[in-house]
């Protein structure tokens, strides 16, 4: 075990067992998979994606490009950096060759989501972030601090621990993922945070240097090695060479030396090294890391130093990802030799290393400054940003093993090939080489790519700019994004007051918008066709009933209600008598049918209109839009009453007798209660509005009662000899009559004239919505597709293309078997005059009128 006896904060009193690549190991609570692997001497963790080269652990945090593993147990999860996996008992993982594997079983874990609001959100719990959070909380405002680990929160600060902020969106809306592991809680929680002001204290990522063999296991960022030692007590090697451009790696070298790692030498590219007791080779480069599968020696010019660990520090890049996502500009700072935040359109302040302030005391001061700026208080002068020595690349003749992007296997030679091909934009080189497009999104490689490119082109990185930073900062699972909205909760489900009855009586359900509607009610041993034919026969020959509660209902009141409807519908609604009902069609301004339904006139100034099930909200929005924005002078109010009423359609030649039994006080004969009128009466002892309308061509009634009494009404109807039917039967019955369904027989390119509904388009009205478009050149064409009927040899598939002389002239919109006709039939939208058409598979179909059944309309009076 490469574990220091004292250092680190893992819980040494307890042992955690895990399996990696089939071998069992142990670690401690507080370890990551990466630290536990290093502690067990595991150096090779994966294989590179393109070249199949061995790869080890390179970093200690979210920027890890190399050690990306597959979690096998407790649940398969692909492409997880070993540095971000908290070790737990029973973890089984394996190394990857650049590609993971999705789970082949349902994820048993639960996921949660929460909204949060605060005046100040601090991202990052390092010295600057902690100081900013503490300072902001002092003024009593709500402060949230999000950190990837679990720092001690200052008083008055709401800490989101083990939380990575992954997205920064408009108006200070940020998304964060919290990793949780407490038993009985959700595995991950997605936070949606709206903040008054954001302080980004996201720190800096150490960067690498491009030299030969810089991808070998055993090459590690110097700061990462120091983290493994101080946080986990892990010695990542026995004898190390340190290759640096800056002082920070000296601290790593000295800490490691004190802990017992032999430091062969510090190779400092700068001519003047920092003071240290360790041997320094200054003004020099590591020219190659050598070894068979892992580092065994390091070449410095002509000198070969024996070492199993090569620590690299090319300096530090401020983590500007979230700032970039906020819409902030980024600027290459020559002194810092890194990208630094510029201006953002949002209320955000950057503090500490995230803007290039590297000293601890300076970071604390900068955090306090940022908090005060966030609160609009007088803020102290910002501490100065640091200077860094720029060194990106060790010159060589062969650049094919100088890796820039370890995860994508992109080398300096690849960048040379891109610039050699004439590419000059960082965005183009990114796409050409794929550098920065991997799972880690170039956290350690992005600026290195730009700098190598700049060096090749003989310009400054400042001249090239940067690629765009986009969310997510780290990968996020779809399950976390879905949260609780999965399985049966994945989308709102709307049910009627009769739903339980339908379910208890074996109905299969059809989704219509968000509604669950009974589709058909199969009896014992019945398949769908048999059940639907039986239901159709009941409606045509006896009496049947359907739950029609899902139709949208809008209450329209006011002195100008009639005028309002005249402007909206294609036909006249103002001439409708109180007590009567009229069918109507709504068009968009382009003249295309948008919805249909009935208007019931309840009083001179009062209508109730129905909409199709899926369009209720859209129709109400449409009405409100015109009322509020174009016709504010009309004295009309619209109120949705869809769920105020439960509606039962009672259909068939026997429906009048059933209604008469249920409503003894209602005169049901045709003269007293004619077609397209409504009456109020008690039905089954329940106050009801009964409408004599028909969507089947049969004698029919729609009985409306309070939603609360819907089930009682339905049960009363079902206690008679009435067959329940579902949406499939409804579709067949209406198609036999040639009644179109908006959204099935229409698709937004169909006018009322195309549907054969010219009789519904008023010629008297000066204007109504869509009228002007009927005379547009395209709309007035005589060869437009029109609704026709088809009598095919065999049942057609809805959507099938229809051919005439080998040319497509239309398609099937509705297709069913008809009990009444004893054969298959269909509706179609077809251009031109034809007697027969064929489908692509050669099925012939006779073209007919769309009205197949009772064209004289005798049956609706029973």
């Amino acid at each position: 075990m490469n574990r220091h006896p004292k250092l680190g904060s893992v819980d040494r009193g307890r042992v955690v067992r895990f399996v990696f690549d089939g071998r069992e190991y142990t670690g401690h609570p507080g370890d990551t998979l990466a630290s536990a692997l290093l502690a067990n001497g595991v150096r090779r963790v994966g294989t590179s994606v393109t070249h199949g080269r061995p790869r080890g652990i390179f970093a200690a945090g979210a920027e890890e490009p190399n050690a990306v593993v597959q979690i096998e147990e407790p649940f398969p999860e692909p492409m997880v950096p070993a540095t971000m996996v908290e070790l737990y008992d029973g973890l089984v993982a394996s190394g990857l060759a650049g590609r993971g594997r999705l789970a082949d079983r349902p994820d048993p874990a639960r996921y949660d989501g929460m909204y949060a609001h605060c005046e100040v959100l601090v991202v990052g719990g390092g010295p600057a972030g902690l100081a900013a959070a503490e300072e902001a909380a002092r003024s009593g405002v709500r402060v949230i601090l999000a950190d990837e680990r679990t720092p001690a929160a200052p008083p008055g600060v709401r800490l989101l621990p083990r939380t990575t902020v992954i997205g920064y969106y408009d108006d200070n809306y940020l998304i964060a993922v919290e990793r949780r592991s407490e038993a009985g809680t959700a595995r991950e929680r997605l936070w949606r945070i709206r903040a008054g002001h954001v302080v980004l204290a996201t720190g800096a990522h150490e960067r690498s240097i491009a030299f030969a063999g810089n991808d070998l296991p055993g090459v590690m960022l110097a700061g990462a090695a120091r983290t493994y030692l101080t946080r986990y007590g892990v010695l990542p090697g026995r004898r190390a060479v340190v290759f640096t451009t800056n002082d920070s790696a000296y601290l790593a070298a000295e800490d490691l030396a004190r802990a017992g790692v032999e430091i062969a030498a510090i190779v400092d590219v700068r001519p003047t090294p920092a003071p240290t007791d360790i041997e320094v080779i200054s003004g020099n480069f590591v020219t190659e890391a050598r070894g068979d599968g892992e580092v065994s020696s390091v070449l410095v010019g002509s000198r070969e130093l024996e070492a199993d660990l090569l620590l690299v520090s090319g300096g530090w890049n401020p983590v500007v990802h979230l700032f970039g996502q906020s819409g902030g500009t980024l600027r290459y700072d020559d002194d810092l030799a890194a990208l630094v935040p510029g201006e953002s359109p949002q209320a955000v302040t950057v503090a500490g290393a995230a803007r290039g302030v590297f000293g601890h005391a300076d970071c604390v001061q900068d955090g306090i400054r940022a908090a005060r700026a966030a609160l609009g208080q007088t803020a102290p002068e910002p501490p100065p940003t640091s200077r860094q020595h720029a060194c990106w690349l060790v010159p060589a003749t062969d650049y094919t093993r100088h890796f820039v992007d370890l995860q994508r296997d992109v080398t300096v030679a690849d960048i040379h090939r891109a610039t050699g091909a004439g590419l000059r934009s960082v965005e183009h080189v990114k796409r050409y080489t794929t550098a920065g497009t991997a799972h880690d999104q170039g956290k350690t490689s992005g600026l290195l790519t730009t700098a190598v490119m700049a060096r090749t082109l003989g310009v400054s990185p400042a001249d090239l700019g940067s690629t765009t930073f986009r969310a997510p900062y780290t990968p996020v699972s779809f399950a976390a994004l879905a949260g609780r909205d999965r399985g049966d909760l994945h989308d709102p489900v709307r049910v009627t007051a009769l739903h339980d009855w339908h379910a208890a009586h074996g109905a299969l359900f059809e989704n219509v918008g968000q509604w669950k509607r009974p589709w058909y009610y199969p009896g014992d041993g019945e398949d769908m066709d048999t059940a639907v034919l039986r239901e159709c026969r009941a409606a045509r020959e006896g009496v049947a009933a359907m739950d029609a509660s899902t139709l949208g209902k809008i209450d329209i009141r006011g002195p100008d209600a009639a005028e309002f409807l005249d402007r909206l519908y294609t036909n006249l609604m103002s001439t409708l008598k109180v007590g009567s009902i009229r069918y109507g069609v709504l068009c968009r301004l382009d003249g295309m049918v948008f919805d249909d339904g009935t208007a019931i006139r309840l009083a001179e100034d009062h209508y109730l209109v129905t909409t199709t099930t899926g369009n209720a909200a859209a129709v109400l929005d449409w009405m409100e839009e015109w009322l509020q924005t174009e016709w504010p002078d009309l004295r009309v109010h619209c109120t949705s009453v869809t769920e105020q009423w439960a509606t039962v359609a009672l259909v068939g030649p026997g429906s009048r007798a059933v209604l008469a039994e249920l409503a003894p006080d209602l005169a049901v004969d045709s003269a007293s209660f004619p077609f397209m009128t409504w009456r109020e009466a008690d039905v089954a002892g329940i106050p009801a509005r009964i409408c004599r309308i028909s969507f089947s061509g049969e004698l029919a009634y729609e009985i409306n009662v309070s939603w609360w009494y819907g089930l009682a009404l339905w049960e009363a109807v079902m206690s008679r000899d009435v067959t329940p039917y579902g949406t499939e039967t409804m579709h067949v019955l209406r198609a036999e009559k040639g009644y179109p369904i908006i959204g099935q027989d229409t698709d937004g390119t169909v006018t009322p004239h195309d549907l054969g509904l010219s009789w519904l388009v008023s010629k008297k009205k000066a204007d109504f919505l869509g009228k002007r478009s009927f005379t547009r050149q395209d709309t007035a064409r005589s060869d437009r597709k029109r609704l026709v009927g088809l009598l095919p040899a065999t049942r057609l598939r809805e959507g099938s293309a229809l051919l005439a002389d080998g040319r497509m002239v239309g398609h099937v919109t509705s297709s069913y078997l008809s009990a009444a006709l004893g054969r298959p039939f269909a509706l179609a939208l077809v251009a031109g005059e034809h007697t027969t058409l064929t489908t692509l598979d050669g099925t012939p179909a006779e073209v007919t009128s769309p009205v197949f059944y009772d064209p004289e309309g005798r049956r609706r009076d029973g």
């Binding site: 969106y169 408009d170 108006d171 809306y173 949606r192 709206r194 819409g327 359109p345 301004l589 382009d590 909200a617 109400l620 929005d621 409100e624 839009e625 509020q628 924005t629 174009e630 504010p632 000066a766 204007d767 009228k771 002007r772 478009s773 005379t775 547009r776 050149q777």
Partner: protein, 85 residues
């Protein structure tokens, strides 16, 4: 997720709103008097600036009121405008 200032309910998440496109495109007083081209222009043509854009929103999941804002399409900065039209 934009935070859109409903003039009645205050700032709310974009998810509560319907977008209504360019503002101040009035329905023609007499559509019948327009040529096909003029009517087509009213129906189908809208501005698409990179910068300030007067547009309509409806607080459909809230008070159902329509209102106008000026949104800078390059920064998403919103400046509230009058409640109607």
């Amino acid at each position: 997720m934009l935070l859109i200032p409903c003039p009645w309910c205050g700032p709310r998440d974009e998810a509560e709103f319907h977008y209504g496109g360019q503002a101040h495109v009035a329905y023609p007083a007499d559509p019948a008097a327009l040529s096909d081209e003029e009517w087509g222009r009213y129906l189908f043509f809208r501005d698409n600036p990179a910068g300030p854009f007067a547009e309509r929103w409806s607080h459909s999941a809230g008070c159902r009121r329509w209102f106008n804002v000026v949104r800078d399409t390059s920064t998403n900065r919103i400046v509230p405008q009058e409640a109607n039209r």
